[in-house]
């Protein structure tokens, strides 16, 4: 089951990457990042099945980081929306050279 889990992780991660590249809506892009984080957690769990249970601790840390990231990121999205009235990433190009 280790090989299948790793292949599933890779597929989910790539779906997340493609979503980040394809979408323009900041919230959907953010959800794609969450999908990538969760996909990597599956790797930790699958390895913890065969290499000892310490991998599960790292999933707890990854979950905490992704919760913190969601809070800060969504607050940034709200702040951007308040200033620009849009969350279309193609319109938010103030830092573009």
């Amino acid at each position: 089951m280790l090989a299948e889990s790793l292949a599933l992780t890779a597929a989910l991660f790539i779906i997340g990457v493609i979503g980040v590249l394809v979408h323009r809506n900041a919230i959907i892009i953010f959800m794609c990042v969450e999908l990538m984080l969760t996909a990597v957690s599956l790797t930790f769990v699958a390895f913890s099945r065969f290499y000892g249970t310490a991998g599960q601790v790292f999933v707890v840390f990854a979950m905490t980081v992704s919760a913190a990231e969601a809070a800060v990121g969504l607050a940034i999205i709200i702040a951007i929306f308040r200033h620009r009235r849009t969350i279309n990433l193609q319109d938010i190009n103030l830092l573009k050279g």
């Binding site: 790793l6 969601a70 702040a79």
Partner: protein
């Protein structure tokens, strides 16, 4: 190396894997943020089922509580707050050329990862076949996670609380408007 699995187990493993994959594809092709969020919840649930099948029961429960419960609710809250639930031109995907480039990048990354996971794993690191069952019996599902968390990784655990505090403070400062300052 890998123990033999009964057909019942293998069937359900593949079933939840296919559900997770199909929900992820449905998630990434949605235009509406609400529909995308609900498909993502479906993916999280299937992944939780896979965690339980991989002997990580506590992690599976945490997955449902934290991801499907808390994080996705926050996402839906923001969608509701900014009134973005309807699919508009704002939610439209990028142009065709951009999508093709994204597909190529994805294919390249996928082949790279597929090559990496074929690597030979060190055999001497593999724990005995009944190691997880012993751990579960000795420490039960919560203790399997909690014992290393509060012994070997105590410093990282404490630093995580600092991270959460910083995240809360940052979210409050970023999220509040100018109206608060004017008071």
């Amino acid at each position: 190396m890998e123990p033999h699995y009964p057909l019942f187990y293998v069937f359900h493993f593949y079933l939840f894997g296919v559900i997770a994959l199909a929900s992820a594809v449905a998630f990434v092709t949605r235009k509406s943020p609400v529909a995308a969020a609900l498909w993502l919840v479906n993916t999280m649930f299937s992944l939780a089922a896979l965690y339980v099948m991989l002997d990580a029961q506590f992690i599976g429960v945490m997955q449902v509580l934290v991801y499907a419960g808390a994080i996705m609710v926050v996402f839906l809250f923001v969608v509701m707050l900014l009134n973005l639930g309807h699919p508009s031109e704002l939610a439209a995907a990028r142009s065709l050329g951009w999508r093709l480039a994204a597909g190529l990048v994805g294919l390249g990354l996928l082949s790279e990862i597929m090559i990496i996971i074929r690597a030979k794993l060190p055999e001497q690191l593999i724990v005995p076949r009944d190691f997880n069952e012993q751990q579960l019996e000795k420490l039960n599902a919560v203790g399997t996670v909690a014992a290393p968390l509060f012994k070997d990784y105590l410093l990282a655990f404490e630093l995580t609380s600092v991270l959460l505090l910083v995240a809360i403070a940052g979210a409050v400062i970023l999220g509040r408007g100018r109206t608060v300052r004017a008071r």
